[in-house]
Symmetry: C2
DNA sequence: GCTAGTTAATTTCCTGTGCAACTAATTTTG
DNA sequence: CAAAATTAGTTGCACAGGAAATTAACTAGC
């Protein structure tokens, strides 16, 4: 009922006029502005997917990311997770806390350095991922269903380029 | 000093082995998982750019988006902004409040419907954008500097596809 | 071996934002 | 035309998350 209007409003304006090239006047078409478009799209994807693990598994995004990394690496510390995911360490700390309380991961002080703690999936955590991961992959598959294999590959490549460039910019500015 | 380690940690693991195709085992490589990669990239871009207008113009993202839309459309209501940007109406409401207090926009009750209010840039708002927009565009230009024209165009096309698919998924699930 | 500095992780404080309840204006229905 | 339903925008509340202070474990310098 309420979706109708918003649906078409989404990208309705800005039909086709001045298709390419950034405007030079003192106006900015956000729909042609990559940072905005990218963020808007990513937010919507992230939020839609978040419902999958929020509603059905009571996991927030940070927790889900940590679980996914653990499924992949099997031994991590909070520090490493911060570095890999670019998440704030406070956020990571709280996510870990929640996961441990629910018995999905275990943490034991690292033998070589008592400050850090080794993180591991528990049996329960592994079991949960056994259900969750295929669902997430199915959801992704549906999302990219309209892309050709080439488009998908190119997309990842371009994203990698942007990531690298982002670091280059960060070094200077 | 501190960047060194994190820099290379970013995508260091997962070098080249099993380059393509999603894994079928019970593990998930987040670096191959589009929703994660996209969100991570978009977040970093957004946050980096946010500093541009936070530090130098005291604008948060919501405010900046509204200004940009106003530079483009010149007459809007909060409702429309919500529809265009997918932002929550409370967020939009507060952003508008801040912009008005700073004299960057004006709002007048719409003659045909007293509930809604027409939003306009003030002279001050327009002046601020005169400085800000070129900076934002320059920043974007630097970000995409390593992309070819074709890659840039394809990227936007693929994003449009994803947006449309996202709506299709949303209708069902 | 003790002091100063560093580092991993936690905690505190505070801001921004989503949700839901609300207000006020408008439209619809009977 | 009055009552009910809808709609634009605001506000209260709770919570997530970032910055900075804090704690605890380690390292370096003397």
């Amino acid at each position: 009922m309420n979706t109708e209007e918003e649906r078409q409003a989404g990208l309705a304006m800005e039909g086709d006029e001045d298709l390419a090239g950034p405007p030079t006047k003192q106006e900015l078409d956000l729909n042609q502005f990559l940072p905005y478009r990218l963020n808007s799209l990513a937010d919507r994807i992230s939020q839609a997917l978040a419902e999958l693990y929020e509603e059905r598994y009571q996991l927030n995004i940070a927790q889900w990311r940590i679980l996914a990394w653990l499924s992949h690496c099997d031994e991590l510390t909070a520090k490493k997770i911060c570095a890999y995911t670019y998440m704030d360490k406070a956020r990571v700390s709280r996510a870990i806390q929640g996961l441990e309380e629910r018995g999905l991961i275990s943490r034991t002080p690292a033998p070589e350095d008592q400050r850090q703690q080794d993180l591991h999936l528990t049996a329960a955590g592994r079991k949960l991922l056994t259900k969750l991961i295929p669902e997430a992959q199915a959801w992704e598959a549906e999302l990219v269903a309209t892309l050709t294999a080439g488009e998908y590959r190119d997309l990842l490549n371009v994203m990698r380029k942007l990531e690298r460039q982002l670091e280059r910019i960060g070094e200077k500015g």
